[in-house]
């Protein structure tokens, strides 16, 4: 029904338009298109207005869809504002969403009308549905109307304390919006940021750091207390948040920790005599470990970012790479190489950025990318900017050992159809030739051969590069100069002509016969040359006048006269200057005597260096680095402080967990930490906290490990499995040291989701060596019943006397209280042990608010859930009723 009506409307409009158009063409004889378009759009708008004001939802929706179509095309639809804004409270969610889109787009233009919608949002902010609350906040904060700043502020503050992490995330976004609308709110907003930074949800972390970076990037003090938390949450944060957190933490770390590179530098200073030997970094690193001790927090950051190199998101990989580049000890930076090379397989645009960064890195550290040299070989299908970057990197990587391979590769490139690329290759050959003296002659010969190339740009570029090379090689190269003089007539590219002229002048004593002849030719064509060629002609004339005035006096006079009346003031200026300098007359002063020494002074050779040489002043991976100029809002990376600021600022008030394992167990700790989920560090922390049994731990986040699945089974009921256990943890004896020949074992239930498998119950076993010799190869042996599903801890290679180690294992009790029997073995012996769980230990802790509980109870989810759960052989659920009054 409604469909036909729309159709009808459209037809009507169309017919009217046609009529008008035909009128227009007959009366005014203009082109049909011009008079047609304005009335048609007016009509459309009226149609749309009518549809929006109709009673039918479907009509309204159809109209809104068209309005959005107009907005998308960039057409102005602001006239419809009053009609659209009426629908803001619509029940139809899609219609409402489209109205939101419209509002955000036009509210700034129609501020008064936009205010009509505000109360709807204020109401929606109180909705029980978190999604609606979040959307309302999103739109409210996107309406750029200064009058509602206080309302926004209030809404943000409330949302920042919302139960739902999704709403809190939205509030973090809203902070930035409000800040850009009214920067005066900064102080209040910082308070909200400070509060949100403390948030433990991975969902919020990324967004609040973005807000921090935008509003108060200099308030580094806000980060201290949250530093460790951010490091630990990092792997579980969504990928976009990871990028901003990593780049913020890079900046933070550069202000808080001392340089891990310092020792290398001082080593070199101390051993000035060993200067030659200490050139390579590897050597300097040997002594590094002696004095420098890395801050554990610094190490924490490096360790927790490393797995992210495996991310599928190229931006994350790049940000970890830059973090390692700016923060890691020299020998660890190589870790990132492989991952960066991997990114080269990605889209062209990604390649471009990654290659730029590799170019900067490869200047300082050839060794990093040398093994992957072949990955930078150019393919004929690459885009030009990719080709030039690859060339740049290959040139940076060139050394004595690989130069022959690289030059062979370059030979192919020179023949490329892409002439701009061929020219760039010639430049690159020139750079290789100056950097590696062994190949200078080979390169020079190769370039001379290119002079007979058919393509002009190739020849011209060769001339320019040869000129530079000859300057660095002040030996006898008169043959090459003669050869170039012969070519001179055929070369038309001005830069190349100018280069040859300069060479002639500079080395005129080596080609005494040819140079004056070239000058003669130039005198003939002087007026038709480009400026740069003219300047060099004047230059050549002056030099020849000084060395060989007999032959060239008249020619020089002639050229100077031409130059005097040239159109370009540059050339007139130069001519005047040269004339005064070389031609002695009564007015010229003392300078004249020194003309020869001025013009024919030995000149330093130009240094051919990479365009990426100074790029490292910008943080890698940033826009500024990419553009090689400071982008607005770029935050400098500070130098390492000479003395580390107070480390204790990062301590969190929570009672620090007692280290249960002996200090010598660094190795075993590592062993134990594998076979877990991404977030092992978080796990470890959580374990530590539960061990500290005082119940003071409240910080561990619930979002880890196997609890995921269990939580998901219940996600309809929106249960959150809470990890921390309140109240004392009871420890049971597993093996007494008398029976265990020195090995004793205790266990307790950490009451956390098991990391290994969802159905398992996590058990923590503390193994101690009470004997006077070290125990080796402690592992779990036979079990009974044989079907018993145990996730064993990894074999502990060695346990020193008096040392102890805590390991975690998972046991599937099959939801029964039957004991699990297994053998605990050392290298020599095996001891049968058994773990019997209490019923409560089979359950999973979970917290619920009172309202939620009664609601769930009403729906009978809770009462039935455990039963379902039992059947499903999953871990169980313990409801801790958190009645808040």
């Amino acid at each position: 029904n409604s469909g036909t009506k729309i159709h009808g409307n459209r037809c009507d409009g169309g017919i009217k338009c046609l009529k008008q158009a035909s009128n227009a063409t007959t009366t005014f004889l203009c082109s049909a298109a011009q008079p047609l378009s304005p009335p048609s759009s007016v009509l459309r708008n009226e149609d749309l207005k009518e549809m929006l004001e109709s009673n039918k939802e479907s009509l309204k929706l159809e109209a809104m869809k068209r309005v959005v179509g107009l907005i998308a095309k960039g057409k102005n639809a602001s006239e419809l504002f009053p009609a659209v804004v009426k629908n803001v409270a619509s029940k139809n969610i899609e219609l409402k969403k489209l109205v939101y889109v419209y509002l955000v787009r036009y509210a700034e233009e129609q501020q008064d009308l936009a205010l009509l919608s505000i109360s709807t949002f204020q109401r929606a902010l109180k909705e029980p549905n978190q999604f609606i609350r979040a959307s309302a906040l999103r739109v409210l904060s996107s309406i750029r109307v200064p009058i509602i700043v206080p309302i926004m502020m209030l809404a943000i503050k409330e949302a920042a304390a919302d139960m739902s992490p999704y709403v809190r995330k939205t509030s973090a976004h809203a902070i930035q919006k409000l800040y850009s609308l009214d920067p005066d709110q900064k102080e209040q907003l910082i308070e909200v940021i400070e509060k949100l930074l403390k948030d433990k949800s991975t969902l919020v972390a990324g967004s609040v750091v973005v807000a921090f970076e935008e509003v108060c990037p200099d308030r580094i003090d806000l980060i201290h207390k949250n530093y460790r938390k951010l490091c630990n949450l990092l792997v579980d944060v969504e990928e976009w948040g990871q990028v901003v957190i990593i780049s913020m933490l890079t900046r933070y770390a550069r202000t808080q920790f001392t340089s891990p590179w310092k020792e290398g530098a001082s080593f070199e200073e101390n051993n000035e005599k060993a200067f030659y030997a200490s050139d390579s970094e590897e050597k300097s690193e040997r002594t590094e470990a002696e004095a420098y001790v890395m801050d554990p927090d610094h190490r924490l950051l490096l360790r927790n970012t490393k797995p992210l190199l495996q991310s599928r998101n190229t931006a994350v990989v790049m940000s970890v790479a830059q973090l390692y580049w700016h923060l890691a000890p020299r020998h660890e930076v190589n870790l990132v190489t492989k991952s960066l090379v991997r990114l080269l397989r990605s889209h062209r645009e990604v390649q471009y950025i990654v290659l730029q960064n590799i170019a900067t890195m490869s200047i300082q550290r050839k060794g990093m990318f040398e093994p992957y040299m072949k990955s930078f070989y150019v393919r004929s299908t690459d885009a030009t900017h990719i080709k030039t970057l690859k060339l740049e990197i290959l040139t940076n990587l060139a050394n004595e050992a690989n130069i022959s391979t690289i030059l062979r590769e370059f030979q192919t490139y020179v023949k490329s159809q892409d002439k701009a690329f061929a020219a760039a290759t010639i430049q690159a050959i020139g750079r290789c030739a100056t950097n590696i003296s062994e190949v200078t002659d080979t390169c020079l010969n190769g370039l001379v051969l290119l002079l007979s190339n058919r393509d002009e740009t190739v020849v011209a570029e060769s001339v320019v590069v040869i000129k530079k090379l000859l300057q660095t090689q002040p030996t006898q190269h008169s043959e090459i100069i003669k050869h170039m003089a012969k070519l001179f007539d055929n070369i038309t590219v001005s830069m190349a002509r100018a280069s040859i002229l300069w060479l002639m002048g500079e080395y005129c004593d080596r080609v005494p016969k040819i140079a004056p002849d070239v000058l003669r030719k130039m005198a003939k064509s002087f007026t038709a040359e480009e400026d740069i060629v003219k300047l060099q002609t004047v230059n050549l004339a002056a030099k020849l006048y000084l060395t060989n005035s007999k032959q060239t006096k008249l020619l020089t006079q002639y050229i100077l006269n031409l130059g005097k009346y040239d159109q370009s003031y540059d050339i007139r200026d130069r001519t005047r200057f040269i004339r005064q300098l070389i031609v002695p007359n009564e007015k010229s002063g003392a300078l004249n005597k020194y003309a020869r020494r001025i013009l024919l002074a030995p000149k330093p050779a130009p240094v051919l260096e990479s365009a990426f040489k100074d790029r490292d002043r910008y943080q890698l991976g940033t826009l500024s680095h990419s553009l090689n100029s400071k982008a607005s809002g770029y935050q400098e990376l500070s130098d390492w402080p000479a003395v580390a600021p107070d480390q204790s600022v990062r301590n969190v008030e929570v009672v620090e967990p007692v280290q249960e394992w002996a200090p010598s167990v660094g190795k075993t700790k590592k062993l134990k930490s594998d076979d877990k989920f991404y977030s092992d560090n978080e796990e470890e922390k959580a374990e530590e906290e539960s061990e500290s049994s005082e119940g003071s731990s409240s910080s561990s986040s619930s979002s880890s490990g196997g609890g995921k699945m269990v939580a998901d089974v219940y996600s309809r009921a929106s249960f959150q499995v809470t990890a921390p256990s309140f109240g004392p943890v009871k420890t049971y004896e597993l093996l007494h040291h008398m029976t265990g020949k020195g090995l004793s074992a205790k266990y307790h239930f950490p009451r956390q989701p098991c990391l290994h498998q969802p159905g398992m119950v996590a058990v923590q076993v503390t193994l101690s060596n009470g004997s006077d010799r070290s125990l080796e190869e402690i592992h779990v042996g036979d079990r009974s019943p044989a079907s018993l599903n145990i996730h064993c801890f990894n074999t502990i290679e060695r346990l020193e006397p008096e040392a102890s180690v805590t390991v975690s294992m998972g046991i599937d009790f099959s939801d029964s209280t039957q004991a699990a029997n297994f053998q605990l073995c050392t290298k020599e012996d095996g001891f049968s042990v058994s773990i019997q769980p209490a019923v409560g230990e089979l359950l999973m802790p979970s917290s619920l608010s009172e309202q939620d509980f009664s609601r769930e109870q009403g729906e009978k989810k809770i009462l039935q859930a455990p039963l379902v759960q039992l059947q499903a052989k999953c871990a169980l659920l313990l409801c801790v009723f958190n009645i808040r009054r």
Binding site: G74, E239, D712
Partner: protein, 418 residues
């Protein structure tokens, strides 16, 4: 972060714009058009363009430029990666990402863009989450919606947003539970004139299509995991498990996704599946050139080489080519000078060849570069690195899923220099 987005088609029309903060005039794109004019090829437009007040970061896919407008410092890869994600999402929703598809679905596109970014910062980019928010348009659904008045837009927060497995939606149900894995390897190689390999490497991906009920927990193990040198994972893969045991353990997203991409360690010699015998010559002074190309199988481990496509950019001076293909068809585009030869399957008994002459522009000198030959090919049922999946196990659910694994080898950037 990302201020606005403009979509520009091949002919330089802005056909869609979206702003996440205050409106940026579309005249900012003029700087982009300038850069476009300067670039000889569409691919050569620099991805990052500075303008007086903004920065333009663009990607080109499916002949559409996606131009993001940035106002202040942001990692450029962040924006590029996001733009590619947008394209992937469009492809996922509409099957293709063309100007027509985007224009037809402009409302869905707008709804998607609205959900994907909030204030220029990515909000939801996981396909599973987006699909709960905005259902992909299908003919059936459009019809049902017009009749019943229901909408494509979800009213609830997608469960994934809050869960710790955000990539998977809950309440998934299938009658046929299936999990398919495609191991696809690509050989990137440069072969020089004489037929020796300059560089060759293998890159692989495992693409999965998983349609399993509930919350399955899968593990996938390889016979020879040591082959994998460098890997990148879908966020669902448990990294620690891989580090320790070289086993892929994960709760999969629902539907299609890329589980893993990998690089085969460079110590292993790469088998080159085909060889090319070529003789492309231009004689000095004559307006004729000779073209002679023969393909043959090299190291294929007994498998057939299929879907072979040879393409080559001939020198600019070539006017026309009169060739004779022993099998398949060839085309020569006299404007772009692109020669394409669709060979099909290589028969080892009767090697395919393409022979004939090329006509050069009269009076033009002999081109000094010989063209590069690009080869595409496919070999079914084989991963050229020798990678083999050992087993796939499922935990957490009771039913028996149907499992399938397919191997394929393709040529990636496979070039032969002549």
């Amino acid at each position: 972060m990302i201020h606005s987005l403009f979509l520009i088609n091949a002919s330089g029309d802005i056909f869609l714009e979206k702003h996440w903060k205050s409106v940026v005039s579309r005249s900012v794109c003029d700087y982009f058009f300038e850069a476009q004019e300067r670039a000889s090829e569409p691919e050569n437009v620099p991805p990052v363009i500075p303008t007086p007040h903004h920065y333009l970061i663009s990607v080109l896919r499916h002949r559409i430029y996606f131009v993001a407008v940035i106002q202040s410092e942001v990692p450029p890869l962040f924006v590029i990666e996001f733009l590619h994600r947008v394209v992937d999402t469009f492809q996922d929703y509409f099957g293709v990402c063309t100007e027509a598809a985007i224009k037809d679905n402009v409302v869905v596109v707008y709804e998607l863009l609205e959900e994907m970014l909030d204030n220029g910062f990515p909000l939801a980019t996981e396909s599973n989450i987006l699909k709960e928010l905005i259902k992909p348009p299908t003919i059936l659904r459009t019809m049902v919606n017009t009749i019943t008045g229901s909408t494509n837009v979800g009213e609830q927060l997608p469960t994934g947003q809050l869960s710790v497995v955000p990539w998977r939606r809950t309440g998934v149900k299938y009658t046929n539970n299936e999990a398919y894995f495609d191991v696809v390897e690509e050989i990137d190689a440069i072969i020089d004139k004489s037929g020796s390999t300059i560089t060759a490497e293998i890159q692989g991906v495992i693409d999965a299509c998983v349609k399993l009920t509930g919350m399955p927990d899968l593990t996938l193990s390889f016979m020879n995991p040591r082959l994998l040198d460098d890997v990148s994972f879908h966020p669902c893969v448990r990294f620690k498990r891989w580090e320790a045991e070289r086993i892929l353990s994960f709760i999969p997203p629902d539907g299609n996704f890329r589980l893993l991409s990998y690089h085969v360690s460079s110590q292993n010699l790469v088998a080159i599946p085909v060889y090319v015998k070529h003789n492309i010559t231009f004689r000095e002074g004559s307006s004729q050139g000779r073209f002679d190309l023969t393909l043959g199988p090299k190291q294929t481990m007994g498998k057939a080489v299929e879907a072979v496509l040879v393409s080559s950019q001939l020198p600019r001076g070539v006017l026309n080519a009169n060739l004779n293909a022993s099998q398949g068809t060839y085309t020569f585009d006299p404007v772009t000078k692109m020669l394409t030869w669709d060979v099909g399957k290589i028969n080892p008994q009767k090697l395919p060849s393409l022979k004939g002459s090329m006509n050069l522009q009269a009076g033009a000198s002999k081109p000094d570069e010989n063209p590069t030959i690009n080869i595409q090919l496919k070999i079914q049922q084989m991963a050229i690195s020798g990678l083999k999946v050992n087993r796939l196990d499922m935990y957490g659910e009771k039913y028996k899923p149907f499992k399938g694994i397919k191997y394929m080898t393709k040529a990636g950037k496979f070039q032969v220099r002549t």
